[in-house]
Structure formats: structure tokens, C-alpha cells
């Protein structure tokens, strides 16, 4: 009997338990459903953020303008490879598409990488790459000029603004490299030198790509250090190899074409690695 009673009692308990469980489950399910509906319109709950640990830093690149081994000063006389005296009054050019390579050969590609450098404005000749992952970097590659895609993408801002005096309005495209000055030997009546080098597509395009190794030491981007990579820009290279420029006849260039390409081939070896300060 006791055993039997106990059984009956058990069944009742079980029924009760099941009923309660069903009610509980339904309530929870409804509640969950409610929450999940709410969640669609609500921002996810903020999870407590761990203390941020910096994983990126900066790297600076300084372009040092030289004539041979001598630092370039605007409006000062120098002697070019053909031994003609000349001075530079204006030097402006585009640097774009900067990529730096780590010791393990992986790369950091700078987004929106367009700079207009102007020798008369020293601030413009130091570029700062930001959000650079901490690592040791062994080389840099970049383009002199503006790539063809961006050269044909309409109205731009910043370095690429059409109002920076580095854009041809009648034959669209950027002046990739602009050097102006004078020379007593110039064939121009006013003894000027005017080289506006442009042309962004086809066989006569004037962008040139550079890849420069740092050697040792490498550039170490870490929480404590922002390395500065110095690159040399030798203006004499513009006047030689493969074509030795004679300013008596080659004193003016202001359109795309085979002549512009000739000057671009000359500046294809204009940049060199200098040194790093870590």
C-alpha cells in the first residue's frame, strides 16, 4: 500500500512537475522571443572592452632633395651633368601608392596614398604613414606620379585637388613632376627652364615605380619609436641617364608624349635610400 500510494503520489508530482515545466518553458520561450525581437532594433549590448593594447604606430618618410651630393636650395646655382649652370625655382611632384615590406615579406599598403611634395614647403616633404602595424620594415615601394585610375576619376580633393596647380585642364591629367628654374645656357629667350612632365596612360605614361631597400638597420615601428626613413632625391638624375639633357635645346616641356616619356625615363633612377633614424 505504502508502495502503491507512493507510486500515485509520484505520478501526481510528475504531472505537476511537467505542467510547471511547460509553463516555465513557454514563459521563457516567450520572453526569449520578445528579447530577440527587441534585439533587432536595439544595438547589441556593450561588452566591457579590454584595455586597448596598441598594435600600430607611425613611420615617417623624408625626401631629401639633392644636386649630386649637395643639398638643394631653391634659387641657388648648381652645375648639371652637362656642366651647365642652373638654378631651381620650383620643384613639385606627386608620390603615391606607398607600400612598406616587413622582414617576413608581408606588406603594409597605405590606403589613399597620395602626396604632393613641394620643395619650397619643407613640411610637405615629410610624409607620415599612420596605422602601421608594429614590425620591422626592410623596404619601401612607391610611385612618382598619380596612377592612371585616379587620374581619370573626376574632381578630387586634398593633394589631388584640381586646384593645386598640378593639373592640365585641356588634356586631363596630373603634372606628375614639375621642375622650373633658369640657366644661362637655356635656349629660351628669358633663359628659363620649364619642365612639366605628365601623361598618365599608354606607352608615354610618366609615372615611375621605385623599390628601395633599407639594408641594416631596418625601420622598427613600435609603441616607443616612430622611425624616419630618409630618401634622397637627386635632381641631377633628371638631367642624365639615359638621356643627357642639353638645356640649350631641351629647356621646355609641357605636354604628354614621347618627350615627356624621355624625361620620365631620366627620373626613373632619381630616388635612393638614405638612412634611418629609429
Amino acid at each position: 500500500m505504502i508502495f502503491g500510494f507512493a507510486i500515485i503520489d509520484h505520478q501526481k508530482l510528475l504531472k505537476n512537475y511537467i505542467m510547471k515545466a511547460i509553463i516555465k518553458f513557454t514563459t521563457i520561450a516567450l520572453f526569449l522571443g520578445f528579447i530577440s525581437c527587441k534585439k533587432d532594433t536595439k544595438e547589441p549590448e556593450p561588452t566591457p572592452e579590454p584595455t586597448p593594447v596598441a598594435t600600430t604606430g607611425s613611420l615617417k618618410i623624408q625626401f631629401d632633395h639633392l644636386v649630386g651630393a649637395t643639398p638643394l636650395v631653391l634659387n641657388q646655382n648648381y652645375v648639371n651633368p652637362k656642366l651647365d649652370t642652373f638654378k631651381v625655382t620650383k620643384l613639385k611632384y606627386y608620390i603615391s601608392n606607398i607600400v612598406i615590406t616587413k622582414n617576413d615579406n608581408s606588406t603594409f599598403v597605405e590606403p589613399e596614398s597620395y602626396y604632393l611634395l613641394d620643395a619650397s614647403n619643407p613640411v610637405s616633404t615629410v610624409l607620415t604613414l599612420t596605422n602601421v602595424p608594429f614590425a620591422s620594415y626592410k623596404s619601401i615601394s612607391f610611385m612618382l606620379g598619380v596612377d592612371s585610375a585616379r587620374s581619370a576619376s573626376g574632381a578630387q580633393t586634398g593633394a589631388l585637388s584640381q586646384a593645386n596647380g598640378m593639373y592640365w585642364n585641356w588634356s586631363s591629367g596630373y603634372v606628375m613632376f614639375k621642375l622650373e628654374g633658369s640657366s644661362p645656357q637655356s635656349g629660351a629667350s628669358n633663359k628659363s627652364l620649364v619642365y612639366h612632365i605628365g601623361g598618365y596612360s599608354g606607352v608615354n605614361k610618366t609615372q615611375r615605380n621605385y623599390n628601395l631597400n633599407f639594408g641594416s638597420p631596418t625601420a622598427n615601428v613600435s609603441s616607443g619609436t616612430t622611425p624616419k626613413v630618409h630618401l634622397s632625391v637627386d635632381i641631377n638624375e633628371f638631367f642624365k641617364t639615359p638621356t643627357l639633357i642639353d638645356v640649350a635645346t631641351q629647356y621646355y616641356q609641357m605636354a604628354a608624349g614621347v618627350n615627356a616619356k624621355m624625361y620620365a625615363d631620366n627620373y626613373a633612377d632619381m630616388f635612393g635610400f638614405g638612412y634611418i633614424t629609429n
Partner: protein, 348 residues
Amino acid sequence: MNKIANIFFLFGVLIFASCKVDPRIVEPLPANNLVEVVPAGWPQPVYSFSVNTITEDKFVLGRALFYDPILSVDSTISCGSCHQQSAAFAHADHDLSHGIYDRVGIRNAPGIFNLNWHPNFMHDGGINHIEVMPLGPITNTLEMGADINPVIAKLQASSKYKNLFKKAFGTETVNSQNMLRAMAQFMGLMYSYNSKFDLYKRRESNAELSDAELRGYNLFLTNCNTCHKEPLFTDFSFRSNGLAVNPFINDTGRAHITGEAQDRFKFKTPSLRNIAKTAPYMHDGRFNTLQECLDHYANVKPNLVNLDPLLQNSGLPLSTQDKQDIIAFLNTLTDYKLLADRRFADPN
């Protein structure tokens, strides 16, 4: 019950439709709305406003700029001076463009419409994008003779433009990109696809072509459609059509841009849409009538430098009647809707 089912059905259709409709393809153009249009059967445009979202405020700014002589060095010449709506935005009765200080340019101001399909601009194709196109005439010393920075400074000093730029771009600061994008928006929305011929092709409004117009259309297909290709009525190619070189101008055309001997005296094929309204004709406006143009094509002098191969054998074999019929057809290409569209009129 039926009502409820209907409502559900409609609701479902609406949801389905809202997923399916490409908002860029709206046809015909709602009279007072500013939307991108790609007429049925047309190729995709080169420029799609994707980075220059259409808004009424940008359009209003672009319209103000287009008609304002402030863009020229002495504030005398506007874009609208040489691009008149009644002439499909060409310059009526002017063979060559007429600029500041009564200077005369070297080329004929072309009509402006369907610019979003153009891969390049100007008779020599030297300008590569609709947004930078206004820089050509603004800086040309024979046209508006200005530089972009003084123009920006003038706009910046104007309370009217500070206000318009603020509305359009959220900032009073004027820059060349915003200025050029507003202008691209105004000009890019000048669509022409509602000529009598278009209505006939779309079987709308009971549009019919007369016998002469139909004969002209067939002659056009045989003789003209290779270069002046439907539906834009140009293939955007550069060709020499056999015009004798004007020794006073000696315009080398496409070669001026490329420097290539093979491009000497080649010019961009213009659209034939609205051609009845854009006289005078050719890159230097040397012909006053369509009759003169067809007389030229029917009697092209051989051996001209870089003459197009399609015109080698003395040009096109057209009789007097053929020419009349082709002209009758060309007259069906006038889009009176565009010519009368108040949105594109001078706001002043």
C-alpha cells in the same frame, strides 16, 4: 475576406517590387524629379552619379554656376553664354566660340545632352571625365580665361554661393571638387531621349514617321549609322571626315592631345540628336545647314591626310532625294522636351 486577401496580395507585390526595381532606371523621366535615367535599350552610362549622389540642392547650385558669368575672369561669360537651351545647349549662329574681350575661339561649341555616356569631352577628346570638363572652357584664354583658384575665391566671397554650397554640401567652404560635382550633376541630368523618333521607336503617343522620314531613317542606317551609331547617334570615335584644313586655324584635332601623326585632323564624332537645332555644323562651324553637311559627305575629296576609310570613294552615294529624306529623318531627332524643360533654364 476577399478584401483582406487582396490587401495581402498587394502588400506582397509591393515588397517584391520594391526589391526588384533598380532605382536608377526610371522611364519616362518624371517631370519634376531629378533621377538618373538609362533609357531601355541604351548602354550603361560611363558616369552614374555613384560618388555624386543626386540632390536638388546640388542641382540648384550646378544650375546657378552654369548660368553665372562669375566663372570667367572678368565676369562676362557664363557656360550658358555659348550653351543655349534653345539650341540644345549649343551656340546658335556662332561658328566659333565667343569668349571674354570678344575673343574668338578655334572650335564650335557643341550641344550638351546625354553627357553621362561620353568617355571623353571636347572635339579632341582631351578631357577625360565629366566632372573636370568645365575646367577646359573656364581656363581657356579664348573662352572664359580664368584660373580655378580666383574663381573659387570669388564664389567664397559671395554670400549667395556660400549659402548654396552650405545647402548642397553642408559647408560654406567652397572647393573645386564640390563646385565641379554640382556642375556635373546639372549637366549630367540633361537627358535627351524624347524626340519624335524616340517616341516612334518606343511606340508611344501614336508617334508615326512619314514616308520621307522612314526613307531617311533607312538611308541613315546604310550610310551614317556606323559612326553616328544609335541610340546615342555617335560611336565616340575620332575620325577625319574629309574637311579641308582651315589654314588660319590649322587645328590638328585629336593629335593635339596624343601627339600622334595618325590622329592628325581627326575629331570626335558628334551625336546627331537635336542636330536640327545646333547649327552651324562641324568642329569649326563651317557649314550653316544640314544640306551643306550632306553635300560634303556626298562629295568627299580623296587623299586627305588620315581620311576615314569609310569615306574613301568620294564619300557617300547620296542622290538629291536621298539627302532630302535624310534631313527629314534628322529633323525627327529634336527633343523638344529637353529644349523646353524649365529645370535647365537660366534661373535669373
